[in-house]
Amino acid sequence: MYQSRVIPVLLCNLEGSLVKTQKFKKPVYVGDPVNAVRIFNDKEVDELIFLDITATAQGRRPNFKYISEIATEAFMPLCYGGGLSNLEDIRAVIKAGIEKVAINSALEKDPDLITRTADVLGSSSTVAAIDVKKDIWGKYRVAVRNASKTLNIPLIEFAQMLEQKGAGELVLNSVDRDGMMEGFDLKTISEVAHAVSIPVIASGGAGNLQHLKQAIQAGASAVAAGSMFVFQGKHRAVLISYPSPSELREINEL
């Protein structure tokens, strides 16, 4: 049976430490990235997404050394995002051993970076990361720069534009549900997945297997989770976990 991918999302900061946020705020230290990658190797995870959440805010380039250290240990597909604003850095990230790049904040001013990246890497390595945040009127807005700024373009129009520009995949991330472990924003996932023909990775809100299953049923081609795979129990003790093969089969049964 063909199974939807289940993807741990790891966030890191300038020092290369892993952190986990809630609603994009309050980063909590959860460990060392290379160690985490090794554990995820043993668990044979489908893929990993690795995001440097401080690069754009600090106006700096990706930390190629950390990226390379992580990539050397990763025997699964690896997607990197954070501070990618030009083709030169994107090439350097690929050279450091990454398969896919996720572009987010640069989409505000330079959405054509998607096209230029896809021309060089191919669409399948070009991922557009869309952060979605509800505004005070409850309207969904596209957010950039660690959700510190929202754009005026409607979400569906934005997603379709990125597909047209050559993105091979979209990561749809809910800012409001980040780290809350209360379930995905199924309505948004369904709307975006039906509006584009490329794979959509649902992210933001996963707390249990049932949540993953719901997102797949809503139309996600893959599901991503952070807290669910790094915390254990109500006191959020750090413990890396991943569903077993039988659990993965179960969440794919419709």
């Binding site: 199974q3 489908d46 597909p77």
Partner: protein
């Protein structure tokens, strides 16, 4: 020594990382002399068909790879785009491929089906359709990571090695004598990929 052909098409560091992990010596190279001396060749690659061929042409590697594969019978493994380039042509481009094995590359005819999105990105199972030291011994329930919009179409059924299903059944690996190609990424497929690369790089 295993030569990993470096022609600026995608992330090839992961191939050498995995070979290192399983204790095989390899070198990422575009140097014709080193490729000529290699006892195994891996042609990786991600990107479009024509740009892949253009790069091989630019680096003067087309004839060398043909000679090594067809005349010297050096074991050669193509991965993803690298494997597609080993066939004669592709619906994706205009250029002729390396033509190491008879066949062409076709786009998935699944457009517009929301269940079978393109590119096909994810893990898939394989069905072995002939004996081969490359895949005869693999860990139980093997699965591999795929990222592609196009797939092989072999002229001779006897060259098909593995089949997979995505919307319909397609050939996910071919093998003709010393020449093999896999559509998936063994270098990103955990122990299953390690095992396949181990099998490929066994001294012959």
């Amino acid at each position: 020594m295993i030569a990993i052909v470096d022609y600026d098409m995608g992330n090839i560091g992961s191939v050498s990382n995995m070979l290192k992990k399983i204790g095989r010596k390899s070198e990422i190279t575009r140097d014709p002399a080193k490729i000529r001396d290699a006892d195994h060749i891996i042609l990786p690659g991600v990107g479009s068909f024509d740009s892949g061929m253009e790069q091989l042409e630019k680096l003067n590697l087309v004839e060398l790879i043909r000679e090594k594969a067809l005349k010297d019978k050096t074991p050669i493994l193509g991965i993803c785009l690298g494997a597609q380039l080993m066939l004669e042509r592709s619906e994706e481009g205009q250029k002729a491929g390396l033509g190491l094995v008879a066949g062409d590359v076709q786009r998935f005819k699944l457009d517009g089906d929301p269940k079978w999105r393109i590119p096909n990105m994810g893990w898939n199972q394989i069905r072995q359709v002939k004996q081969s030291p490359l895949v005869d011994v693999l860990p139980e329930n093997p699965r591999f990571y795929f990222v592609h919009s196009y797939h092989f179409h072999l002229k001779n059924e006897a060259d098909q090695l593995l089949l997979s299903d995505y919307g319909y059944t397609f050939c996910s690996a071919f093998e003709h004598e010393n020449i093999a190609g896999v559509q998936f990424h063994p270098e990103k497929s955990h122990k299953y990929g390690m095992s396949l690369l181990h099998n490929f790089s066994e001294p012959r």
